[in-house]
Amino acid sequence: MTQIRTADLTKTFADAGGGVTALDALTLTIEDGEFFALLGPSGCGKTTLLRTLAGLETPSSGAVYIGEADMTRTPAGKRGVAMVFQDYALFPHMTVTENIAYPLRVRGVPKAQQREAVLAAAADLGLTGTDTTVGLLDRRPEALSGGQQQRVALARATAAKPSVFLFDEPLSNLDARLRLEARTFLKRLQRELAVTTVFVTHDQAEALALADRIAVMQSGRIRQLGTPREVYRRPANTFVASFIGSTPMNLLEGVVRDGRVLVADSEIAPPDGTGERLAERAAVVLGARPEYFRVSPDPLDGAFRGTVEVAENLGSSLLLTLDVSGTAVQVVVAEEDEPEPRATVWALPRADRTLLYADGELVG
């Protein structure tokens, strides 16, 4: 049972200008066996948090618990934690076998046992040969493809039999096609091993696809913590709303009047369930994902009326940028519904998917 817990974890880096706070009193619990994502833009503190869990950074204050034990001051090698780095960090002068055996060699495990463990780990990760493929065990890392290098790094980490895995940007060194394949592989591996796993990514799609829960970070704080569904459906603030989603959410400034939202010269129905408790507000932000619009060439009640400015082909769908009285609104339509350039269309946001923010926080 390995739960990870941080309590008021703070890390400040000394700097010429006084200091940079990478982690700001961060309290977080990661459950046993969970696949957990730390997501955020660069400089948000996600890598610092991962390195602090690993023991590669010492926190300025606060505590780290792994399992039951306080590991805040425990050296990296004694935490039972294995980390896979973005560049995989394979030792270039060692063969695949020697690389996988390394954690055991350092611990002084007998040679025969090392060999056994290497074969087991290599088989788990598809590195041993089959009837049709050649085994990779005697090669050096430079003779391997990126995907193979990653699997060797994973095999080395599993050979150490850690109670926690830490992955730093596990997919970003792979090319786009391989990345999807590796993503599926990684998720299956984590399910099979059932080891608590924390990974860092700047790619929201990766976090949504892999993680059981996501912590979206900004400036050393967690802005939202939740399952991929929660984070995607109901972003807690405009920062998360703009960060999650491969096509960014429309965040449109407006006002509330008579139970309707006035935005871009249009009267939009408020999000479902807010109805009566919607107070008159001077300034709100309406959030609507481009995917959650009904687009029609004919007038619709309570919809945005705009002209098509740009149409971007996304394959099975199209991303339209509409000009609605000077405000840009993006909507996604199916491939067969492509409108003429400069056509006038009506875009109706789905009331069960629209969100309302005031002062940057979700209000409805």
Binding site: A54, G55, L56, A76, G77, K78, V81, A82, M83, F85, Q86, D87, Y88, A89, L90, F91, P92, H93, M94, Y102, P103, V106, R107, R139, R140, E142, A143, L144, S145, G146, G147, Q148, A160
Partner: protein, 310 residues
Amino acid sequence: MARTASPRGTDTEDPAGLGRARAAAISAPALLIIAAFLVFPALWTLYLGTTDYRLTGFAARHPRGVGLQNYTNVIQDPDFHHSLWLTVEYVLFSAVLGQALLGFVIAWMLRDTRGWLKRLIEALVLLAWILPSSVVAFLWVAMLDRGSGTLNALLNTPGTAWAIEHPMAVIVVFNIWRGTAFSMLLYSAALTGVPPSQLATARMFGANSWQQLRDVVFPHIRGHILTNLLLISLWTFNDFTPYQITAGGPDGKSEILPVYIYQTALFDGQMGLGAAISLLMLLINLVVALVYLRLLRERRGGRKPERVAP
């Protein structure tokens, strides 16, 4: 009308477009200087080694060819053996063990240090390296002086004549002090090339400092280590600065080869013999260089990967 190709040949043969005659004219002065001050003296030394040429006396006016007599004399000379042995000791202790080891230790300890401490240590170490040898030799003579030397004052050992009682130790320590800066700078640069993720990986698997050095650092900087050892071995082998501190003495106890040649050729005036020893020294240097280069090449050849498509 437009001619793209040079009339005197293709662009690859004559990239400057000068033509053979003008190119030769331009490089001639430099070649002349090299010939006059490098090639000629080298050949002249080779010739002198086969004569009984002396600085003074009858043989200075009419040197006679003596064939390989000088070489056989040198090889049988116990003073030469003694001097060669001192030189090997000097190179081993001051360069290979002293400079290279100390330089690495300083570079390793300072690898994560930033700011004024690193700059201060680097400045101090570099200072020893960039000062002219006559100046540092004088500083050391003053420091080791029997009567009013700094070292005797510091250790409270009045009247100890360090350069006389421990001449080899003095020049070994001197050369370590002098040359460590080079190794330190070279290793510092090499250490920045060691991927931090590999060091961190070794650390996370519980590797101690020695295992991290053995498994991650040394394999990465092996080429730098060999290049550094080659350079400092040759420099130390040919180093004449100790003469300015101990003058090879007392009684030849610190008479390393360059000093021995100087004493033989210019002090005793036996130019022919000195030239012969010089050539032997050159040969030893060559052998040392070849051994190191061989080691370097072995590494490159040995690591040649079999390229396999993914």
